[in-house]
Amino acid sequence: MLQVENLTVYYQTLKGQVRALENASFTLADGEIMGLAGESGCGKTTLGHSLIHLSPPMTHIGGRVLLNGQELPLADMQKMDAYRFNEISIIPQYAMNAMNPIRKIGQMTEELLRAKKADVKTVMAALKDRLEMVKLPQEVLGLYPIELSGGMKQRMVMVLSTLLDPELLIADEITSALDVASQKAVSEMLVEFRDQHCCNSVIFITHDISILYQIADSILIMYAGQLAEKASTETIIHNPRHPYTRLLISALPEIGVRYSDKRLTGIPGKTPLLLNPPQGCRFRERCPLAFEKCAEVPPFVEIEPGHSVACWKEGSADA
């Protein structure tokens, strides 16, 4: 189980601090696949990366993260190495270029395992089964990354990242570069990985809510570096409470609606710059329900079991 408490991460830049992640608190149950969604630049990748590789210019400002009750030494690059790959792993956004171009994949895997002092023989044997799970032939181990197609590389990296059965897997935009059919295949493989205990919990970062609807158990919506709402997938899709989530969901195309008759609506306005973000609720400027109280930061509170929202209109007052 993963517990994130008040995690705050800024980017140190020449112009000042970019407040990319502010006071994030949430929990992730065993075996839960949590979708992490939001617009570009809302801090979802920052959140994902800060859990595994919090390197400059990212700086850890505050908060802590517990994995199975143990606090992670987030800001300590050396100490975190013991957790990386073993306990927490990542399928990066750049999976297409994630492998050393001048090493055969099998050789690279072995070198990596040996360097991590893993039981090379056992893991390499398990690797064969994993390849079958993602429908890759055994021969890929004797190939160079360039000899694989984009989809194959994506699946190969997926297998590589989960080789040591991590407790937490961060899947960063793994479907973004793929066509719709491969998107579905890859996300279903991820679910199978979870079911086969190749990894325990998953944070699935994406901006594609329709994918999440198919595979995620819960969805966490972020806006401009702050958490907006977290609930089960069903609740987020059918009964969202945060005004941002509502607008976001209503902007999704629906089956059976002809958009030649009715234009698809978006959310007017732009996301604020995080270099000098507005005080209070960062969605205030674009929110149809905003009132004076929104000048204060709304707390991220649980309004019903498993459903948390950061909005003054919800939480205490309403319900």
């Binding site: 790959f85 073993n86 050393n100 360097a115 360039i146």
Partner: protein, 330 residues
């Protein structure tokens, strides 16, 4: 595979033909001719001069039409005959070159290889050490940017005149004759050191800067970040970065090795070192067509051979070139 090398070989042969043709043409574009140059060095009366002129012009085959000179040149070349040097008359050009080549190889091979090895390793270390990068890298920049002849003269002046520890001219002392004795070998090494050292320093700076930049680039590559995120030890990440960064350096090395026989013209002039570079300068000053052709022929062969070798090496070390190869063959 065979198709790839077949095609490469064809391109190399074509390049060789064109380069050698240009090599033949260029000296002949110079105003004047070698015979006039030779005769200018001797003072004889005009009748004798015109007889000698006729004799030498015929001897060098310069009285034939140009197209026939050109064909004769190729015919002789294929028989391994490069003609007779006008400047060092009557020595054959091949013999003149063979005497000079050992000096070039002994000077340049160690300078190029050692500076490559040392520069690459140093550059790789400097890329990850702020301290080294801030102190020694600027020296590398200065060394590479310095006009070489000035650096050479400075070294010769400092070590040869001020400290008086190294001789500044020649390949060995005039008082000695080449024998296989310790005294002679020691003397040759002493003469060899300054030209070697000056070349080493300048090239070392260049390699180190190149490698430093390549390593920084590779450490920012996606595969490095992925390994970091998986908590791989620094040693593995650095090794991968080095292996990737060294590839472009390899082609640079090949080009350097290719011009070995060309000698280091400036070095050899500054230190009066009797290699091909020194010879080439003398040949040009004396309009010695045949010696110029011979020198350039060696340069052409050297560059082409080095390129061919590196083509093969690249196929062995970089899988990406291998894929391009099979892709084209398919």
């Amino acid at each position: 595979m065979r198709k790839y090398f077949g095609r490469k070989l064809l391109i190399y042969l074509l390049t060789f033909f064109l380069a050698v043709t240009i090599d033949w043409l260029i000296p002949r574009f110079m105003p004047g001719n070698p015979v006039a140059n030779m005769l200018a060095r001797v003072s004889v009366n005009s009748t004798a001069a015109s007889v000698m002129q006729e004799y030498y012009t015929h001897l060098f085959g310069l009285d034939l039409p140009l197209w026939q000179q050109y064909l004769n040149f190729w015919a002789n070349l294929l028989r391994g005959d490069l003609g007779i040097s006008a400047y060092l008359f009557p020595k054959p050009v091949t013999q003149v070159l063979m005497n000079a080549i050992p000096y070039d190889v002994a000077l340049l091979l160690p300078a190029i290889l050692l500076s490559w090895l040392a520069g690459n390793n140093f550059g790789a270390v400097a890329a990850r050490s702020k301290w080294l990068d801030n102190t020694v890298s600027p020296i590398g920049y200065i060394l590479t940017a310095t006009p070489y002849m000035w650096l050479g003269i400075l070294l010769a002046w400092f070590f040869g005149i001020i400290l008086d520890v190294f001789p500044i001219a020649g390949a060995y002392s005039f008082s000695l004759s080449p024998t296989l004795s310790w005294k002679f070998i020691g003397d040759v090494l002493l003469h060899w050191f300054l030209p070697f050292f000056s070349l080493f320093m300048v090239q070392f700076g260049g390699w180190a800067i190149g490698m430093r930049n390549m390593i920084i680039y590779e450490l920012e590559a996606d595969y490095s970040h992925y390994l970091e995120a998986l908590g791989a030890p620094r040693s593995l990440i650095r090794r991968y970065a080095f292996n990737n960064a060294v590839l472009p350096q390899l082609s640079g090395l090949a080009l350097q090795l290719g011009v070995i026989v060309a000698g280091a013209l400036v070095t050899e002039v500054v230190f009066s070192y009797p290699g091909i570079g020194y010879l080439l300068l003398a040949a040009i000053q004396n309009q010695d067509y045949f010696l110029i052709q011979g020198c350039f022929l060696f340069i052409i062969i050297g560059v082409l051979l080095a390129n061919f070798v590196i083509d093969i090496v690249y196929v062995l070390v970089d899988p990406r070139t291998r894929r391009g190869m099979t892709g084209e063959a398919a």
